[in-house]
C-alpha cells in the first residue's frame, strides 16, 4: 500500500506535534465547582479593564494532555535512564523521598506570610538545614535566600562589597581564574566590579606568582572554584588564602565542585571567607530540565552583618522567628526566603546519608572519576598530569588531527546510549571533554561508558565520518542552530506549521 497513514509509524511517540495543533473549540480538560457566592457582572466590575479574548490558548482534553507530555518526555534523556557524565554538573540520583516530603500539605501549601506561630515547621526545616550546611562547609553562618548558584555568587559578592565598604574602600576588582565558569565574571560585572583574569599554571592550578603580582589593595576578592574546573584540588590553597588575606582581600569559593569535598575537607578550614553551594548539584535536588536550583551562601563571621534579610533567629520564648532588623544587610536578593522546596529536598538527602553516607558518597564520586581517567588514558589526550578529584578533563587533540572535534565525539556518544559530557569547557583546554560521573554510577555503567568512548576513539581512526555525522539514532539530528539564531522563531503562531 503506497499511501502512508498519518499515525506514527515506528513508534507512537514519533510524530507528536505542538499542543496548539491539537486544539479545537469545545474540548476541555477543566471543570470548576459551582460558585458558593453570587455571580458577578465582570463588565460592571472591571469596565474597560475587562479582557474579552484569550487569543490562541489551547482547548484540549485531559487525555490529550497526558499523551502529549508523556510522549514528549520520552524524547528526553534523564538520570533515571542513565549516566550524565557532565563535568561540574554533578548529575546524581534525585531521591524520590525528597519529592514525597516536599508535597506534604503543611509544607506545599505554606504561605510565606503566614504567622510565625503556624510556621514553626518551615522555620525548623530552614534552621536544621542551615546548621547542617554550616557544619559541612566549616563556615560560621549561612543565607538560604539565593535562588541558584549564580544568584548565590551575586549575593556573596554583594556581601564582599559591603564588607570592604564598611572598611572604607569598596575596592575595584575581582580576580577570576581563566578556568572559571561563565557565571563568575558575569556576576562580578553585575555587582559593579571589574574582572581581572588570573592565569593557571602548567599543572592547571592558580599560578601563585601571578596571584602575588596581581593581588593588591584594589582587589576585593578572588573567586575560586575548588577543586577547579579541571577537577584538580588547589594544593596551594593555604598560600592562596594567605596572599588574599594579607592584603585585606577575601577568598570566595564557587561551591559547584563540593561533591569532591563533602565529609573529607571543609572550605571554612582552608581559608574560604564566603562560598555558595549548589543544592541542585551536590545535594541531589532535581535539575528538572534546567531548574529550579538553590544557591545558599555560607560565610565567616566577618560577613555576618551583611547577610540578606530576614535572618532566622531563636526568639526568647523558644520559638523560631525571622529578624528584619539588620541595619547592615545588603538587603534582599529576592522576595520571601529562598527556594524553600529545595531546602526540604536537600535536607532529606542529608538525613538519608548521615555523616558516613556523605563521606562514602564523596569517596565514590572521586573513585568513579579516577576509574574513568584510568580507563580512557590511552585513548584521549590528558592535558594535565595532575591528579583528578571528582571530575577529569581530556582534550580532542588526538582526534582533531582527523578533523573530529569534542562536539562530534559527544554527539556520537549519544548513539551509545549516553548523554554527552561537557564539551569545550573549561576554556583553558582547547577541545575539552569534561567528565564527572558522580557517585550514582555503578561499575557496570562506568565500564559501558569507557567501552563506548574507546570505541568512538577507534571509529575516529577507522571511519571518522560516522562520528562526524552523529547522532544517527535520535529522532532529530544536528539541528540547525545557525538558522535558529539568525531568524529566531520563538513562539508558535496560528499561520505557521
Amino acid at each position: 500500500m503506497k499511501h502512508m497513514t498519518r499515525k506514527a509509524t515506528r513508534h507512537v511517540n514519533q510524530n507528536e506535534g505542538l499542543i496548539f495543533e491539537k486544539s479545537s473549540p469545545g474540548k476541555a480538560a477543566w471543570k470548576l465547582p459551582p460558585l458558593d457566592v453570587p455571580e458577578v457582572d465582570t463588565a460592571k466590575l472591571l469596565g474597560s479593564a475587562e479582557r474579552k479574548d484569550l487569543g490562541n490558548l489551547p482547548e484540549v482534553s485531559e487525555i490529550e494532555i497526558i499523551r502529549h507530555f508523556t510522549r514528549l518526555s520520552t524524547w528526553n534523556y534523564a538520570i533515571d535512564l542513565g549516566m550524565y557524565p557532565l563535568g561540574s554538573c554533578t548529575m546524581k540520583y534525585n531521591p524520590r523521598v525528597n519529592e514525597f516530603v516536599s508535597r506534604l500539605e503543611g509544607i506545599a501549601n505554606a504561605h510565606p506570610y503566614q504567622p510565625e506561630k503556624i510556621s514553626q515547621g518551615a522555620l525548623r526545616i530552614m534552621k536544621t538545614i542551615s546548621e547542617q550546611l554550616i557544619e559541612i562547609t566549616g563556615m560560621d553562618a549561612i543565607t538560604l535566600q539565593p535562588a541558584a548558584g549564580a544568584h548565590g555568587e551575586m549575593t556573596g559578592l554583594l556581601m564582599v562589597r559591603a564588607y570592604h565598604q564598611s572598611k572604607g574602600n569598596a575596592r575595584k576588582k575581582i580576580l577570576i581564574p581563566d578556568s572559571a565558569h561563565g557565571t563568575n565574571p558575569a556576576t562580578a560585572a553585575m555587582v559593579g566590579y571589574a574582572v581581572e583574569n588570573l592565569k593557571s599554571d602548567s599543572r592547571g592550578m592558580v599560578d601563585i606568582a601571578s596571584l602575588e603580582s596581581q593581588m593588591n589593595e584594589d582587589v576585593a576578592a578572588l573567586m575560586l572554584t575548588n577543586p577547579n574546573t579541571l577537577g584538580v584540588f588547589e594544593q596551594q590553597i593555604h598560600k592562596i588564602a594567605d596572599l588574599m588575606h594579607a592584603k585585606g582581600g577575601l577568598l570566595y569559593m564557587d561551591g559547584a565542585n563540593m561533591n569532591a569535598l563533602v565529609g573529607k575537607v571543609r572550605p571554612g578550614d582552608f581559608g574560604v571567607d564566603v562560598m555558595h553551594l549548589n543544592l541542585h548539584k551536590t545535594f541531589s535536588t532535581p535539575h528538572g530540565g534546567g531548574g529550579p536550583g538553590s544557591g545558599p551562601v555560607a560565610i565567616k563571621k566577618i560577613l555576618e552583618p551583611f547577610v540578606p534579610k530576614p535572618v532566622l533567629i531563636n526568639k526568647p520564648d523558644g520559638t523560631l522567628g525571622l529578624d528584619y532588623n539588620r541595619p547592615h544587610s545588603v538587603g534582599r536578593v529576592r522576595a520571601f526566603y529562598g527556594n524553600f522546596g529545595m531546602f526540604v529536598r536537600a535536607l532529606a538527602y542529608i538525613q538519608a546519608n548521615g555523616p558516613d553516607g556523605l563521606r562514602q558518597t564523596t569517596e565514590d564520586a572521586v573513585l568513579n572519576a579516577n576509574y574513568i581517567r584510568k580507563g580512557l588514558e590511552g585513548a584521549y589526550d590528558l592535558p594535565y598530569a595532575t591528579p583528578s578529584m571528582h571530575e577529569v578533563v581530556f582534550s580532542d587533540r588526538v582526534q582533531s588531527t582527523k578533523g573530529v572535534k569534542t562536539m562530534d565525539i559527544a554527539k556520537r556518544l549519544i548513539d551509545y546510549g549516553f548523554h554527552p559530557y561537557t564539551t569545550a569547557f573549561p576554556l583553558i583546554v582547547p577541545g575539552a571533554l569534561m567528565i564527572e560521573p558522580t557517585e550514582s554510577e555503578p561499575k557496570e555503567e562506568l565500564d559501558l561508558f569507557i567501552e563506548a568512548m574507546k570505541s568512538i576513539a577507534q571509529e575516529v581512526e577507522e571511519d571518522p565520518q560516522t562520528v562526524l555525522d552523529a547522532p544517527h539514532s535520535t529522532r532529530v539530528s544536528r539541528l540547525d542552530e545557525t538558522a535558529a539564531a539568525r531568524k529566531p522563531v520563538l513562539r508558535w503562531t496560528p499561520a505557521s506549521k
Binding site: 460558585l35 558575569a186 560585572a189 595532575t386 540547525d480
Partner: protein, 458 residues
C-alpha cells in the same frame, strides 16, 4: 548507603584498576592539615520512614489545614493532579538543561509551548523560558530597559510589591541606577501627576505592578503614555497571573515581568516559583534568560534548540545580559501544564470565580470596616481598614483555623489598621462568613452576627 550502587568488591576491583591501595590515596591532593579525621557533626543516617516522619511532624507544626486569606504575591489556586503525575516522570524531573538538543526535545518543545502561551496571555511578542521569580524578573527587566535606552533613572510605583522594590534596590545599587518612588492616590493607583513630574529624559523606565500590591488594576495606558512621551520604557510586573484570565494584559507596556506561581506551582513557603519576562521582538537580544527557538534538523524535520545563547553568561561572561544560568524549568513545566489544562476558556472562568469570591468577601467584610481604593477596578485582593488592629483580629481568626489578611502596617504605615485580603476560587463562603463574624466581634462584642461561628477547614 542505599543511593550508592557499588559493592565492596566493585570498589576493590576499581582501586586495583587505578593502581591505588585505598581510596584515601585519591584524596592525597588535599593537604593533610585540612583532611577531616572525624565524622561531620550531623545526625546519624535516617531510614526513609524516619525521614518521612520527621517531615510529617514539621508539616503538622506548619498550620496544616487552615483556610487562608493571604495573597500578596503568592496565591493558592487549585492544582490539577495531572501536573504532578506528568512532572514526576523521571524524563522531566531528572533531565538536565537542554544544551544537547537531540536528546532534550521533550524539555525544549514544552518550553516553546510555554513561551507561546505566555506571549498570548501577556500580549507580548516573545517570552523567555523563565526567571527565578517575579521579584528578580522585575529587577532584570528594569536592567534590560536601562541597557536598551542607555539611560539610568528608574521610576517605581509604591504600589509595587514592597519586597519586589527591595530586590530592585539591591540589584540597582551597583548598576548605578538611581530609583525614584511615586506614590499612589486615594484610588489606590499610581498618582499620575506625581509620575509626570518624576519621569524625565534620564528615565530608563517606569516600573508598575498591575493588579498592584493592593489588588487594584492600574491605568496602564495612561502610565504608558507618560513614560513613552519622555522616551522611557514601561515595565509592568504581574504578581497574580490568574488575573490575565479576565483582566486586559498591559499591551501598552514594553516589558512584562510576570510571576506565574498561580498557575500550578505550590506555595512552598515562598519558593521555588516561576518568573518570566516577555517583551517585543525587537528587544529580544537584550532579554536575559534562556530562549528556545524552532528550527529544522539536517533532514528538514522540525525541532527545537536553545538559541540566542550569546546573550548568556557561558559565552558573554562579564558582558552577559545577566549572570543567570538555571531557569525554573520544572516549575515552568507545571505552569505550562496548568495553562494547557485550563486553556482559553478555563482561565477566564477561573478568573471570574476569583472575582466573584472576592467581591462577596469584600461586601461581607466591608460591613465591619472600610474597603480602601473602592473606586478602582480590582481583581482578587482588597484592602480592609478596621478600627481594631488587624494583628488582634488575626489572632482570633487563628483560633478558628483561619489565616486572616496580611496586616499592612509594616509596609504602609500610613494606612494604619489596614490588611490585604485575598480570595481565590479555593476560598469557601463559610470561611468568608466566619471571618466577617470574627471581625465583627472586635467592633462590638455584644452585636456580633447571629450566625454561629464555625471552625473551618480549607
Amino acid at each position: 548507603m542505599r543511593y550508592l550502587p557499588k559493592s565492596p568488591a566493585d570498589r576493590k576491583a576499581m582501586l586495583a584498576a587505578i593502581g591505588a591501595r585505598s581510596v584515601d590515596e585519591l584524596f592525597a591532593p588535599i593537604p593533610a592539615e585540612y583532611r577531616l579525621d572525624r565524622d561531620l557533626k550531623i545526625p546519624r543516617q535516617m531510614s526513609e520512614s524516619e525521614i518521612v516522619d520527621w517531615f510529617k511532624q514539621r508539616s503538622r507544626e506548619n498550620g496544616d489545614g487552615y483556610a487562608s486569606f493571604l495573597g500578596a504575591g503568592v496565591y493558592l489556586h487549585y492544582r490539577p493532579v495531572i501536573i504532578d503525575s506528568l512532572i514526576s516522570r523521571g524524563e522531566f524531573l531528572t533531565a538536565y538543561t537542554p544544551y544537547q538538543a537531540e536528546i532534550s526535545q521533550g524539555t525544549l518543545q514544552s518550553i516553546f509551548e510555554f513561551q507561546t502561551m505566555i506571549c498570548e496571555l501577556t500580549g507580548m511578542e516573545v517570552a523567555n523560558a523563565s526567571m527565578y521569580d517575579g521579584s528578580t524578573g522585575s529587577a532584570e527587566a528594569v536592567m534590560m530597559a536601562a541597557r536598551l535606552t542607555g539611560r539610568h533613572g528608574v521610576v517605581i510605583a509604591r504600589s509595587v510589591h514592597p519586597e519586589y522594590r527591595e530586590v530592585l534596590g539591591t540589584y540597582a545599587t551597583h548598576q548605578g541606577l538611581p530609583i525614584a518612588e511615586v506614590s499612589y492616590g486615594a484610588d489606590g493607583r499610581v498618582d499620575l501627576k506625581e509620575l509626570q513630574r518624576a519621569v524625565t529624559d534620564q528615565t530608563a523606565c517606569v516600573l508598575i505592578q498591575s493588579p498592584n500590591f493592593f489588588g487594584t488594576i492600574e491605568d496602564v495606558a495612561a502610565i504608558a503614555e507618560i513614560a513613552h512621551r519622555s522616551g522611557a520604557m514601561l515595565v509592568v510586573s504581574i504578581a497574580e497571573a490568574a488575573s490575565l484570565g479576565i483582566v486586559e494584559p498591559p499591551r501598552e507596556g514594553d516589558i512584562v515581568a510576570m510571576e506565574a506561581q498561580s498557575f500550578g506551582v505550590p506555595l512552598t513557603f515562598g519558593g521555588p516559583h516561576c518568573g518570566v519576562i516577555a517583551t517585543r521582538e525587537k528587544y529580544v537580544r537584550q532579554m536575559p534568560g534562556r530562549l528556545v527557538g524552532q528550527t529544522v534538523d539536517k533532514k528538514g524535520k522540525r525541532g527545537f534548540v536553545l538559541t540566542l545563547a550569546t546573550r548568556e553568561q557561558h559565552i558573554r561572561r562579564e558582558k552577559a545580559t545577566s549572570n543567570i544560568c538555571t531557569n525554573q524549568a520544572l516549575v515552568a513545566l507545571m505552569v505550562n501544564i496548568f495553562m494547557t489544562v485550563y486553556g482559553k476558556l478555563g482561565l477566564r472562568e477561573l478568573a471570574k470565580q476569583n472575582l466573584a469570591k472576592t467581591d462577596y468577601a469584600a461586601s461581607r467584610l466591608g460591613t465591619h470596616g472600610s474597603i480602601l481604593f473602592n473606586t478602582s477596578p480590582r481583581f482578587n485582593e482588597f484592602v480592609l481598614q478596621t478600627s481594631e488592629d488587624p494583628y488582634s483580629i488575626n489572632s482570633r481568626l487563628l483560633g478558628h483555623k483561619i489565616v486572616g489578611g496580611l496586616p499592612l502596617k509594616k509596609f504602609y504605615p500610613e494606612l494604619g489598621n489596614a490588611a490585604l485580603w485575598c480570595c481565590t476560587e479555593m476560598t469557601s463562603r463559610t470561611a468568608m462568613d466566619t471571618a466577617a463574624c470574627v471581625i465583627a466581634e472586635g467592633q462590638n462584642p455584644q452585636l456580633s452576627e447571629s450566625e454561629p461561628v464555625e471552625e473551618v477547614a480549607r
